[in-house]
Symmetry: C4
């Protein structure tokens, strides 16, 4: 019995397992869609009722799924404290707690189920390649982040001293200037915080020249690392093929 | 007779075929230009009349071309249901239907003829290189898209909870927040939807740091794949050259 | 005599030649700076007078330089119709013509002298590497441009049909929509033209996903081509070194 | 005694040295945080007092650290005029000078201590790889910068002639247009300066097409150089391994 359930819930090789998997995934998507619609203002009471009923339905299904997964897990505690075990619990728990307490806002944790969808990705080779590449540039990424943070802070200090006098409302403190730094150096440029003094504009120009150079770096690093990861993979394949074809 | 037409319509090796091809392409461009001008408000009635006459002229030419292509096609049904066969039909059909029905808006399908212009591109080697590269990173692209979509959704949920109370008009629901996510993570930054709370701004900063890292990935992937595609191509050329020069 | 001048004007090996070169380049920069300052509104009459005097001074020097270059050129006609010959003439001619005619606005051509500054770049190896790389991806760049133009046009047609009814002033025709396409797909996002309908926003999302993928391509192409150019250069160097060290 | 202090201040191998290092770094971060908070408007007098006291405390500690570093340095003058020596002095000096003079604004130099944090980065291999890569593309970077500057200037001249008549307030001179060039070509796009004439918009489109191609170049260069740097590093490692394993 337990084995049979296990084969359905954990494996995708049987037809029943495949259907079970798809059902859960579609339900996750629908439950997230429902949660998204619920945030719309001016919904008709009928729709609100329907969405709440549907939420209860989803929670029941997800609770049963959670209990089944605990039931079939060999090491129950290990599953409960695993990444997916915690996600599954956090996604249903607020609902039960909200009966007694006022935890409506905690229902937001339902969106955590999104991470379950990552299972949809089953391209192991590509993921391995990514993880090799990221492992390779781990050190570069840290250096890059530290340098970026320092640049963002220095930009904020600089623009504060150029613009504070001219726009005391907008560049009211270095904290406001930090917002400008982030929006500008990422080239988002909302336009809510814009330098107007000549000094501030020349400073922005210099900062952007440096910043764009720095923003170009991660793309270059990833490209370089992926090329390397691909060539490592290829060498391995060749070695394996050579081993397999070599007479022993 | 049929063969003669075929040589004109399908091949570009004869002078007549070349002229025919250029005439059709220029006519496509002009018909699209006419369609674009037609959308201008406050056109003089003379210009509107001229554009309508020109449209009828184009449709007549394209209809004749369509019929000729069916006539010379060996497998007529295969052509009719081919990519270009359908485009050609969809581009002229609304005009004929609009006589009886009110299908003026359906005339927009004329722009589909644009795809005919893709034939202008005849750099087969470069296209083959692109297609090898894209085939290589197909799996990475899917992973990338799924991760991007999840990030966009999570950003929308997050900013909704930070900004909804402060700007209920702007961040009115997660759907509005999704618009913010898209505009921000692509670094377009129109400035129509901007976080103003401290929490929302810090959240934006974190999301942008992650998002820009993710946006740097496709460029890196394409670069890596094109390098690989180029080296595969080169190896093939060398092999072919080696084969050709080897004594047999 | 002629040879002596030639050595000063054309070569940088003598001290006089070096000084001559630097003087001209500094004068070009100053003349461009003067031209830029002249556009400022509300200048004091003294400054305007000074800038006009300085302009006359520059024109005189550049005219003398131009005449000297013609004088020392072996093939005078070839120099006059060469790239730099035409630039030099176009940069001074409007001044002389403006005595008789009202050609003040033609003085803008002075900025053409900027191209003279390109001579400042003397890193031949790096430029050769760039030109090898660009030659390599010429075909890809053309495909990329055509595909980009088609995408920009299709985006404009699409957003026009989504937004025209809701914002007839902003998306008044496909021409206005083209402006939106350009500003959005390049991720500039001024915020002067923004979709507000749900359909238009979803369309923007899809277009941006495709567009950002396409924008990532040139960076990948250039990276791949530069890697290749570098390796070609290295191989050549090795071959040359091998040839040089081989006994003959 | 001097040796003992030296081991604490300069080395991180002893436990005391590690603690000393962390204490100083945390103090730098706190002092910068304090400096950032101080710029907030409408602070309570108590907080202002506390921040001033904390500043004095930090200055005392940093002064002692500075004196110790001079004391233990073998070549005292060399330390005083070294990069970190000057940073340390400039970060504390304004405080002492501000007793006599009104140098409050000079206190901004405290942020220079940020550079001390660069020591946090201790990934020597990655930094070496970066520096190899940057050394490799030094020439390309200079060419790229010059071409970018010329493009930015030409864009400013162009847009000035297209937009000045229509928006004399916004595009009042080439200097204002330069601000537009920078904001547009970096794709920041604040939206404070936007072309409205048809000519200006077509010009923007062309400039952006060229500009985005140019912006794609540094990313490609860095990627190409990092790939190269990685392969150089690998070859060196192999050579070293080969040398080490070869019988002598």
């Amino acid at each position: 019995m337990k084995e049979k359930i296990d084969r359905i819930v954990e494996s995708r090789e049987t037809k029943a397992g495949l259907y079970f998997d798809y059902t859960i995934q579609v339900l996750i998507l629908l439950s997230i869609l429902g949660f998204t619609i619920e945030t719309l203002p001016n919904l008709s009471p009928q729709l609100v009722d329907f969405l709440e009923d549907f939420e209860i339905f989803c929670i029941v299904i997800f609770s049963i799924e959670y209990l089944i997964r605990i039931y079939i897990a060999r090491k129950k505690l290990k599953f409960i404290f695993s990444f997916y075990g915690i996600i599954d619990l956090v996604a249903i728990l607020p609902f039960y707690l909200s009966f007694g307490l006022d935890l409506r806002s905690a229902r937001v944790f339902r969106f955590l189920r999104l991470f379950r969808l990552i299972k949809l990705i089953r391209y192991n080779r590509a993921i391995r390649r990514f993880s090799i590449a990221f492992h390779m540039i781990r050190e570069e990424l840290i250096i890059f982040s530290v340098v970026s943070l320092i640049l963002i802070y220095l930009s904020a200090v600089g623009i504060y001293y150029f613009e504070n006098a001219a726009q005391p409302e907008v560049f009211s403190s270095i904290f406001s200037s930090l917002w400008w730094s982030v929006v500008t150096l990422t080239t988002v440029g909302y336009g809510d915080v814009v330098p107007i003094t000549i000094g501030g504009r020349i400073f922005t120009f210099i900062i952007l020249m440096i910043g764009l150079g720095i923003i170009a770096i991660p793309s270059g690093m990833i490209s370089s690392a992926l090329t390397e990861a691909r060539s490592i993979e290829k060498k391995k394949n060749i070695q394996e093929t050579t081993k397999a074809t070599l007479p022993e």
